[in-house]
């Protein structure tokens, strides 16, 4: 598992760095550097094998179900990138130590940087493409954190967000592409995929895959038209820019192109998309770079342009172009990192990066100036420097193109133009900053940077020169293994030399240099021309775009989610109507095979009362009191219907519940405004009438369909076993407390919770208590009418006697704990009504919470008691005993369960009404005019 350590060491470094908050800046930098140094050592120790042409692997299973493993590979390409990432990373660590001011948090920057390094190392060493994507997204996250390092600057925040959005989008596209590849190939392992190029390319999904993967690469590598995020990422501290935009972040996209080159390249589509994108980016980047007054802006666009160049190279149809691309990756990383660092020094020492202010810096910082000029010359492609070599190769390769058919000559011409532009902006960088007269209004007095801050630049510039002078010696080994890796083993013969003789590429270079200098000398006109063009601010456009999306979303949400319950309910009901209604049309006949039974007058009158009651409720719903009376009729008739159709228990339950419900509704009447204003439009009323009648018809039809069908059910079992198995003759009650006692347990829990909830609702409730009724009549003065008070006292023991009776007989005859509980409760409620809650509380200070809990506890523990006998939860037990005088008596555990039900019901009902009563007793009636 050696290879795992390559990213892992950096990750450890990130953690280490984050803990250096209390240490000095030097210590922090040193501790941070330990891990990358170790990593570098590790990579170097592995390098000989790789350079010898081997590919190292290691693998660890992770999510086998998904084909995702932690598998690593170190081939030439990976080695090259590892070295770039680690070396430049180390230099950036050193540089950043001096760059950051006292106010900036060193550990934070280092931790993020190392996290980023981890991600990059992970990408380049991944041998599983999902793992690669894992690290790919990690770069997006860590770069987001890095770019927004100075989070107090709005441009940093916006820049970071934009970068994340663009690269995030690309990442998603990439994921889609990778999954597609995995599906086609049957594996996410890179080895397998690289060997299955034919499968992929011949698939009909190939274009989709290509576009998706390229979207990932192009967004990351800031290719046109996704390039605009990169300049805004310059809000990051310069060390970050130096790292992200030379060797790492943006190179990830290029790496991806190179990595998948064997699997995806080689088709016309590839060349067209990659080539044209690269070419466009090359030109656009170079052109814009020329007009940037901000040094980092110039470098940003130059980066875009060079990335375009590399992309174009990868898009060119020759193997040598690919070699050139890899070579330019190295070169660009080196000179661009040094340029960023130099810019950082200038910025650091002068306080500005504006080239209109920066002039004549040569005099103040000759040493830095020299370094910067060498690096810039490399960027321009001046001979004897590394940039020159790869650019020559590039020019040479453009000449061999057939990509654009008969118009292929355009490619070398445009390449030369781009070369000229790059010379021009490089010239501007050198001339405008270091010469060109005296500086203007610099915020600081410029002078050389600290010694060690310059070391990284020195190293990099030295590399520029070394590679430029001795390419074969310095980069050839790594370049060739890397090329082999990209080209899947058949890299062409090529020769890295400074001098290839007088040839067309050299001529192109010369034209470029001359043209570039000419352009720079005539820049005044160009700037004027550019100024006359409408300016496009990518950030503002992007922000405006996002803002528009957000605003649009907000409008939509406000439109749909308009906070109107009426609409929500309407939608719910409409959905139910549609789903229940449609199958009705599929039925052949509504009526089932069971014949209809006759209507007798008994039923007809009951039904008439029920229907008229319902309609009257509807018609008078705005006169609330009348509606309440009418709905009582409906409730009464419902219970009559239950008794009519052989359900005495239901009739009893409905009756008792009805009383409490009416009381609750009366509370609502009192505490709610007493009038229902007429506010529905006629159309709304029509609509509501429409949907309600439709639903009524549908439900009625279904009911009719069910009623007219023959019925077979499991209930014969209950009838057969009620007495023998449940010990009771009231089958409904035996079902409730035994066969389906679990439902009942849930049901009383609901009741208990409702009481607790209502208690909560009433806490600190500011009540509106009207001083007069809806017609403005003040309330009667007498609180507790005399006759009512004394009669209710006489009724109380009677009612309790009745409830005991109903409770005890429940198991064998209609009745039971629930009904008994409600009867008891109603008897007490009558006391509350007759005497007031203060009066009750003075006499009976029962904590209803405890009553509820005890009821629930009794029911639950009764159920659990059966465990003691090795039986399942709620297994009932009953037996008959001969008690002297009393005779044969049944004792059943179900009765205890029912006692739990009884207590819960009493506790809950009384808690609900008593807590409200308590509240109103404490609140004086206000003079609220309604």
């Amino acid at each position: 598992m050696t290879l795992l350590w390559i990213p892992l060491l950096s990750l450890i470094g990130s953690l280490l760095a984050s803990f250096t908050g209390k240490l000095s800046r030097n210590q922090s930098a040193i501790i941070t550097a330990i891990m990358p140094i170790l990593g570098l050592a590790l990579v170097l120790s592995l390098a000989p094998d790789v350079l010898a042409g081997e590919t190292l692997y290691s693998s660890l299973p992770w999510i086998p179900e998904l084909g995702v493993n932690l598998s690593f590979r170190l081939d030439g390409l990976a080695l090259l990138f590892c070295l770039l990432i680690l070396c430049i990373g180390l230099l950036v660590i050193l540089y950043a130590r001096y760059y950051l001011s006292e106010n900036d948090s060193m550990p934070k920057l280092y931790a993020y940087l190392m996290l980023f390094m981890t991600a990059m190392l992970g990408i380049v060493t991944a041998n599983n493409i999902i793992q690669m994507w894992f690290f790919w997204e990690l770069t997006s996250i860590s770069s987001f954190l890095l770019i927004s390092y100075w989070s107090h600057k709005p441009e940093a925040r916006k820049g970071a967000r934009m970068a994340l959005a663009i690269t995030g989008a690309g990442g998603l596209a990439l994921l889609a592409g990778l999954v597609l590849i995995g599906q086609l190939v049957g594996s996410y392992e890179l080895d397998v995929i690289l060997q299955s190029a034919e499968v992929i390319k011949s698939s009909s999904w190939y274009p989709v895959i290509l576009v998706l993967v390229l979207l990932g690469a192009f967004t990351k590598s800031a290719q046109f038209p996704f390039h605009f995020w990169l300049p805004h990422a310059m809000a990051a501290p310069t060390p970050v820019s130096a790292y992200l935009h030379s060797a790492t972040m943006v190179k990830a996209g290029i790496f991806l192109l190179a990595r998948f080159y064997p699997a995806l390249a080689g088709t016309e589509l590839w060349f067209i998309i990659v080539g044209v994108t690269g070419l466009t980016t090359l030109l656009v980047g170079a052109y814009i770079a020329l007009f940037k007054h901000d040094l980092k802006g110039l470098l940003a666009y130059s980066t875009i342009s060079h990335l375009g160049l590399i992309t174009l190279l990868l898009g060119l149809d020759t193997q040598l172009a690919t070699v050139a691309a890899i070579f330019h990756i190295i070169n660009h990383a080196i000179f661009k990192a040094s340029l960023f660092m130099a810019t950082g020094i200038i910025d650091h020492e002068t306080g500005t990066r504006d080239m209109r202010k920066l002039n004549g810096m040569w005099r103040y910082m000759p040493y830095t100036a020299t370094l910067a000029m060498v690096a810039a010359a490399s960027m321009a492609g001046v001979p004897l420097l590394n940039g020159f070599l790869s650019k020559e190769m590039f020019f040479a390769e453009t000449l061999h193109q057939q990509m654009l058919g008969s118009m292929s000559w355009l490619i070398p011409v445009l390449a030369t133009v781009a070369g000229a532009l790059s010379v021009a902006y490089s010239a501007r960088f050198i001339h405008d900053v270091f010469f060109n007269g005296e500086p203007k209004d610099l915020p600081k007095d410029p002078h050389e940077a600290p010694r060690y801050m310059r070391v990284p630049i020195e190293v990099l510039v030295a590399m520029c020169v070394l590679v430029g002078l001795f390419p074969a010696f310095v980069v050839d080994p790594i370049l060739s293994v890397a090329s082999n890796a990209v080209l899947a083993g058949d890299a062409p013969d090529y020769k890295l030399a400074i001098w290839h003789g007088f040839n067309l590429p050299l001529f192109m270079s010369a034209v470029a240099v001359a043209g570039g200098l000419f352009i720079y000398s005539q820049r005044k006109y160009l700037f004027q021309f550019q100024a006359s063009l409408p300016s496009v601010n990518a950030k503002r456009a992007f922000d405006a775009g996002i803002q528009q999306v957000m605003t649009w979303s907000r409008e939509q949400v406000l439109r749909i989610e308009n906070g109107s319950l009426q609409r929500y309910v309407f939608i719910l009901l409409l959905s139910a109507l549609v789903l229940a209604g449609l199958p009705l049309f599929e039925m052949h006949t509504l009526a089932g095979s069971k014949g209809l039974s006759d209507i007798d007058a008994h039923n007809a009158i009951g039904a008439a009362l029920l229907m008229i009651g319902a309609l009257a409720t509807l018609v008078w719903h705005r006169s609330r009191m009348v509606a309440l009376i009418m709905i009582s009729v409906v409730g009464l008739m419902t219970s009559v219907a239950f008794s009519r159709f052989s359900a005495p228990d239901l009739a009893l339950t409905q009756l008792t519940v009805e009383v409490v419900t009416v009381m609750l509704l009366m509370l609502a009447l009192f505490f709610l405004p007493q009038r229902t204003p007429k506010e529905s439009s006629s159309i709304r009323i029509l609509r509501d009438l429409g949907i309600s009648s439709a639903i009524g018809i549908v439900i009625g039809s279904i009911c009719y369909a069910v009623l007219t069908r023959p019925h077979e059910s499991i209930s014969q079992f209950f009838v057969a076993n009620a007495k023998t198995g449940g010990g009771g003759t009231n089958v409904v009650n035996v079902i409730l407390v035994d066969f389906r006692g679990f439902d009942t347990l849930g049901e009383i829990t609901v009741l208990g919770i409702a009481a607790l909830g209502i208690y909560k609702l009433l806490l600190n409730l500011p009540l509106f208590m009207p001083a007069s009724d809806s017609e403005g009549r003040p309330w009667a003065r007498e609180r507790h009418p005399l006759l009512l008070a004394s009669i209710s006292q006489s009724l109380l023991p009677l009612a309790i006697m009745v409830s005991v009776y109903i409770f005890l007989r429940g198991h064998n005859l209609p009745g039971g704990g629930f009904i008994a509980g409600l009867v008891t409760s109603i008897a007490f409620i009558l006391q509350y009504m007759a005497n007031g809650s203060n009066w009750i509380r003075a006499r009976m200070d029962i904590n209803y919470r405890k009553v509820i809990a005890s009821g629930l506890a009794i029911a639950t523990l009764t159920g659990m008691g059966s465990w003691l006998f090795g039986r399942n939860f709620l297994t009932s037990w009953f037996d008959y005993f001969d008690i002297p005088l009393v005779g044969k008596t049944e004792l059943a555990s179900a009765m205890i369960f029912d006692l739990g039900v009884y207590l819960t019901v009493v506790g809950a009902t009384l808690m609900i009404l008593a807590s409200l009563g308590k509240l109103t007793a404490e609140t004086p009636k206000e003079k609220v005019n309604l």
């Binding site: 004394s790 009669i791 109380l796 023991p797 006391q831 009393v886």
Partner: protein, 178 residues
């Protein structure tokens, strides 16, 4: 008049008897089991809700009470026949009215019983007991109470008042000894 019963465990003997009877009626049984259970319940229930009882005069003349009950029952039957005829007859001939009966009774329970009796008997419905406590100064007891009665068909007002007082109120005073 007595407010407190003889035995603490039997705060309201009459009520206990009533409850016992109700239990037997409910179960429609006089089996030993129900006799025992009924007795226990009839004693336990009043005890357990004793705090809810406002101190009220006890029935001290049960025999008289029983006799009065029968009288009232008889009145109910005759009254109902009477009222039924009145209802079926032309309503224009009826002479409705309110009367106010000054009460000798002072306690709530006897007054309630009187009012109930009045409501159940010939063409009269108790409407109100005056004065209502809220119209008096805080905590003050009313000196004289009146019973407001609606009469369906009223002949001589005073005669009616007298008959109510003598036929119903006087026995109640006797029963409760107040």
């Amino acid at each position: 008049m007595r407010l407190q019963a003889k035995y603490k465990w039997l705060p309201t003997p009459f009520r206990t008897i009533l409850l016992f009877a109700v239990w037997l009626l409910l179960n429609n049984s006089v089996s030993p089991g129900h006799l025992i259970l009924g007795a226990v319940l009839a004693i336990v229930i009043p005890l357990s809700i004793a705090p809810f009882r406002k101190p009220q005069p006890l029935i001290l003349r049960p025999g008289l009470a029983f006799k009065q009950l029968l009288i009232v029952l008889w009145d109910i039957i005759t009254a109902n026949v009477e009222v039924a005829i009145k209802i079926l007859g032309p309503s224009k001939r009826l002479r409705p009215g309110f009367i106010k009966v000054p009460l000798d009774l002072k306690h709530d329970l006897p007054i309630t019983m009187l009012a109930s009796t009045v409501s159940l008997t010939p063409g009269t419905v108790s409407a109100e007991v005056y004065p209502i406590p809220e119209s008096l100064p805080q905590g003050q007891e009313p000196e004289q109470r009146f019973l407001l009665i609606h009469v369906l068909d009223m002949g001589d007002e005073q005669e009616l008042i007298n008959s109510i007082k003598s036929r119903y109120e006087a026995p109640l005073k006797e029963i409760f000894q107040c």
